[in-house]
Amino acid sequence: MKQFNDLKPINIMGTEYLTTFTKAYEKRTNWVKNNPKHICSYIPGTILEIKVKEGMVVKEGQEILILESMKMANKIKSPANGTIKVIHVTSGDRIPKGFLMFELV
């Protein structure tokens, strides 16, 4: 019988099997619950303009910043009433998708 090296365990329905992993399986990331107070970029792009300052009280739907992507100036609006706790970007920043742009309290 052939012997295989570097076998790893995987649990399927309560039973642990020895096997090898694919690259995709090894690279998978754990799911984390979305924090509604953390506003992340939904697309990569460049910050054109920031219209608020830290500590400012903002209303739901108020424009917070402009994210340029796909040759479009996308208005990023506040998803809720609140106060701007931290802004993590400055004008001119190039950011990837999923980048934390600002936090609300």
Binding site: I10, M13, T19, T20, F21, R28, W31
Partner: protein, 514 residues
Amino acid sequence: MALQNKIDELQKKREQAFQGGGEKAMEKQNAMGKLSARSRILSIVDLDSFQEYDLFVEHEARDFDMAKKVLAGDGVITGTGTVNGMPICIYAQDFTVAGGSLGSMHAKKIVKIMDHALKMRMPLIGINDSGGARIQEGVNSLAGYGEIFFRNTLASGVIPQISVILGPCAGGAVYSPALTDYVFVVDNISKMFITGPEVIKTVLGEEISMEDLGGARVHSEITGNAHFFAYTEVECFEQIKKLLSFIPHNNLEKHRTLEAKLPKPEFKIGEIIPEDPRLPYDVRDVIKSVVDDSDFFEIQERWAGNIVIGYGRINGRTVGFVANQPLVLAGVLDVDSSNKAARFIRYCDAFNIPIVTLVDLPGYLPGVDQEHAGVIRHGAKILYAYSEATVPKISVILRKAYGGGYIAMNSRHLRADFVFAWPSAEIAVMGPEGAANIIFRKEIMEAENPDEMRRIKVKEYTEKFANPYVAASKGYVDSVIAPSETRKVVAHAIEVSGNKFIGGPSKKHGVPPF
């Protein structure tokens, strides 16, 4: 003598056209490790079998000073030939001529050879090496692509369509290969993407090389867009010839039967599978111990390795294999493996290739990423493909067949024609550990020594259900067979399925969970 002059003139014109984009461009092509378009065709077809058409076609671009330019054959070579003695249609884009760009006449040449392939029912091989649409020809170039895509779809399931990516294939051009049955790529030469690194950089600010974005490895290992990976063009051409030796050349072809050969003696079917169902083995060794000359031609070898698909022969006749691979992710079904298997099953069904399914899987891959990637819809494709297929369908359950995975892997309930099981088969809703924990939860919890009680109950469940005889007692398994009997039994099953014909309810077509 006048005629001789005219023949000489023809020869001169031919030689001129054979130069393609000229010596310099050809040198550049070779420097990249690429053969010329003409050499590629001649390397695939049998010696002296190539007949070219439309060599003297001229391009139609009239704007931007294009009218003065001469483009040999308008950047594509088309013709017919034979491979392994069987007729095929072939075209090759010539990158040395205006970057292999696709203008309206270039497209018309391809369309003509495609129509011919479909009319005469012979395989079509397309060699892609092109910068994309010829911008000077505007919408006429786009129209050309559309005509090609339409014919790819029309020919799908009628003739095998092979795409060979030997250079760039970008933008809309990628959709012809994507619509065809087999995509061949070569390391460092093939590049496929919808939007290239330049556009991605300007629009999104992400920097990536062509190779990392859409090179041969990316499409063989990550996207699954390619079916065959080779290190050199020559190796790629051998793969194409081998594929064509296995598959029928159209959907009406009665199968070719070669001389039967026994599997090689080093593949001993009784010594591959470990007794402990939690230990892995390479299911390809099982296939090699069953097929003629142990010659198994694997498809998409580098992608979704938890399922194995490919061709082998049994008693000289081509069979498509679908097998769970315990060596990779314990052989689970997931999004990628479902897509891989389902498309192959539909291909086999369209071209009358019997399907042999080797079953050993613990179930589906658990995880948020799988659920959110739509494993419900993708997993359903396997059920759809097996249920829909009307070719002979044979299953051999080697070891585990649990839960939904048991149903999906060509079970009797999806109208498998023959279901065989080895004595090591375990057909149940889940593995003994999981099942005992649920059925005997109370007893285990209330026991003085829960671990001891769990062990006893797992053993009890294993003895009762972890075997093929419960399923056999209901007729869901037709025969329990010794591993050594597998080749003989499967060969017999294929032999007696020769006149299989089943009809379904009348419909235009089904709506598979694409």
